[in-house]
């Protein structure tokens, strides 16, 4: 092999492939070699589709040689898929025992769209069971390690996605973000993670955790690759009535066009810079703000007064929805079943208790509780009202600014086991990301530096509804002016 392809961006790879300067087979082989080399340390992948990936690469090569049909924007780009997204190929387990060995009879809309864009599906990656968690420690399959420090968690729930991109085992990964599950692991692993506006990307084929909050989003090494991916996977899908019929621009083209002339009023929410925020993280965020200021941004203080209620609101709504969404896992039509049950009720109960891990059961119980007779108004309805107030906070803030900037997570990656004993403490670490899901807004985490101990920190940009174009342009402008290349994880 003359060259390593795994260090390259999606746009580079697809250009080379389209111009026949490199065979997609060579690209894919290079990434498969990389996975062989590093995944024993990282354990990001749950399934590696070597044969299938090479087969895709060969058909793409054939197509390019024939030169008849147009070649897609992700031609030859290796992509990993979170275990929660349905693929006909391989298994879709949600990292849960209850779906061990489950083969989906259909592809998620985003998977269809990736394939249409000539992306190469290279395998599936680890996550917290049913996307419930912030460290990927809740996977029933294995632990995934942070490429920057193997003693630390990769974040979650899309920990496998972030680790696989960070370790350059693939160029892009699709994750899902219900309360920060794309952005927080991106921040922990030093890559870019985009959570699009709710309704921008079809949820068809995303195994539901909390239907009114879930959104699929890309993780990549740079902003441009996430932008390109959003142009591929976004847009109205008749199979998802909550997907919105709105123009879907070619984001990478728009970013290039707008980046030189963009004007910025950047809002810093005062509630995000309290004593709960790690000092080192705070410093890195403020350094990034100064870079943006140098690029002509006007910095304004904004207020999101209901921030302190976001975690409580989020955990009521997401668990309520999850308690219903996860009811279908009963051992009747698919998945794990407890054998030797005396009757159907025992079968249900044992199947579910043995099939779901402790965190999933905890959330199902919490969700069942807040919806149960006599408690609906006090918890669920109340939370939906506070959700409205949180959304209104953002509407008001966006009167004063065009984009909101702050930390993605209050801390850098933590060590294994550090927060597993206290669920509430784990929940509270999602403080900066969950308001965005509650308000259906788009947001992106971009790396902004390393701590003294060499752990990445993510800078979060929050945009207006369906204005990913602006959000991505600002993030890109920051990225190209970041000025500090902190390199790749020390894996060698």
């Amino acid at each position: 092999m003359s060259e390593y392809w795994w260090g390259r961006s999606a746009s580079e790879i697809s250009e080379y492939v389209k111009n026949k300067e490199i065979s997609p087979v060579e690209v894919v082989q290079s990434f498969l070699d990389r996975i062989q080399q590093v995944d024993t340390k990282i354990d990001a992948f749950t399934q590696i589709w070597s044969d299938y990936a090479l087969q895709q690469a060969r058909s793409l090569e054939e197509k390019i040689v024939k030169g008849k049909s147009p070649v897609g924007p992700l031609a030859g780009v290796p992509v990993s898929i979170k275990e929660v997204i349905c693929t006909q190929r391989g298994f879709t387990t949600c990292a849960s025992k209850i779906l061990a060995g489950y083969r989906s009879p259909y592809d998620a809309t985003v998977v269809e769209r990736l394939l249409n864009a000539d992306a190469i599906l290279i395998g599936k990656v680890n996550m917290d069971e049913f996307a419930m968690g912030s460290s990927t420690e809740n996977s029933s399959i294995k632990l995934t390690r942070n490429p920057w420090n193997l003693e630390c968690v990769p974040g979650g729930s899309s920990g496998g996605s972030a680790a696989s991109v960070s370790a350059e085992e693939c160029v892009i990964s699709l994750g899902s973000d219900t309360g920060g599950s794309v952005r927080q692991p991106a921040s922990f692993c030093g890559c870019v993670g985009l959570k699009p506006t709710y309704g921008r990307v079809s949820r068809y084929g995303l195994v539901a955790f909390a239907s009114s909050l879930d959104q699929i989003g890309p993780l990549s090494k740079n902003v441009m690759d996430s932008a390109t991916t959003l142009s591929v996977i976004g847009g109205r899908d008749p199979r998802d009535t909550t997907s919105v019929d709105m123009p879907l621009p070619d984001y990478s083209e728009r970013i290039r066009k707008n980046v030189d002339t963009i004007s910025m009023r950047i809002g810093l929410p005062k509630e995000y810079f309290t004593e709960d925020l790690n000092e080192e993280v705070k410093e890195l965020i403020m350094k990034a703000v100064r870079i943006l200021e140098k690029q002509g941004a006007e910095i304004v203080e904004v207020s999101l007064p209901h921030t302190e209620f976001a975690v409580a609101t989020y955990y009521i709504i997401c668990t309520a929805e999850a308690s219903a969404n996860l009811a279908r896992f009963d051992g009747v039509r698919y998945g794990f079943r407890h054998v030797d049950s005396k009757n159907i009720i025992e079968m249900y109960k044992c199947t579910r208790s043995e099939g779901f891990g402790p965190e999933v059961q905890r959330r199902i119980l919490l969700g069942t509780y807040v919806l149960s007779s006599g408690y609906y108004d006090a918890y669920y309805l109340k939370a939906q009202k506070v959700r409205k107030l949180i959304t209104q906070d953002f509407e008001e803030a966006f009167q004063k600014c065009d984009v909101i900037v702050g930390p993605t997570s209050p801390t850098p990656a933590f060590r294994f086991g550090e927060k597993t004993q206290n669920p509430l403490e784990m929940y509270l670490s999602d403080i900066y990301t969950i308001s965005v899901n509650l308000s259906a807004l788009p947001a992106i985490s971009v790396p902004c530096g390393l701590t003294q101990s060499g752990l990445p920190v993510g800078l979060q940009f929050i945009g207006k509804h369906f204005d990913e174009e602006y959000l991505l342009t600002v993030a890109y402008l920051y990225e190209i002016n970041r000025g500090q290349e902190f390199g790749n994880p020390p894996l060698e």
């Binding site: 609101t313 009521i316 308690s323 794990f336 249900y348 119980l365 069942t368 939906q384 959700r387 259906a440």
Partner: protein, 100 residues
């Protein structure tokens, strides 16, 4: 003062609704966990929300409907393929008694 918001009996009742089987130890642990979390979320009561409309849907849209057209379904084999137990025609479960 730590007051248990959710009793063990309540946990069993909720587990019944959610079709989860809990042993005593789990029930104790979950009663404590859930009590702590519920205690925390009751923070929302600090807020007056009397005149606030609940946000029931994330994005304001309405009437997204499909036309009444039949499209081919998956085959019987595909539908049964993932089932833990089937007889080639039906999904099989332990006998359901009418009074269940």
């Amino acid at each position: 003062m730590i007051r248990s918001k959710i009793s063990r009996d309540e946990i069993y009742h909720i587990a019944d609704l959610a079709y989860l089987h809990l042993d005593t130890e789990q029930a104790e642990k979950l009663a404590a966990d859930l009590s702590e979390i519920i205690g925390y979320v009751e923070k929302l009561n600090e807020l007056s929300t009397d005149n606030v409309e609940p946000m029931m849907h994330a994005v304001p849209m309405e009437n997204i409907l499909r036309e009444d057209k039949v499209r081919p379904s998956i085959t019987k084999e595909e539908s049964l393929r993932c089932a833990p137990l089937h007889d080639g025609e039906y999904f099989l479960v332990p006998k359901i008694l009418e009074v269940d």
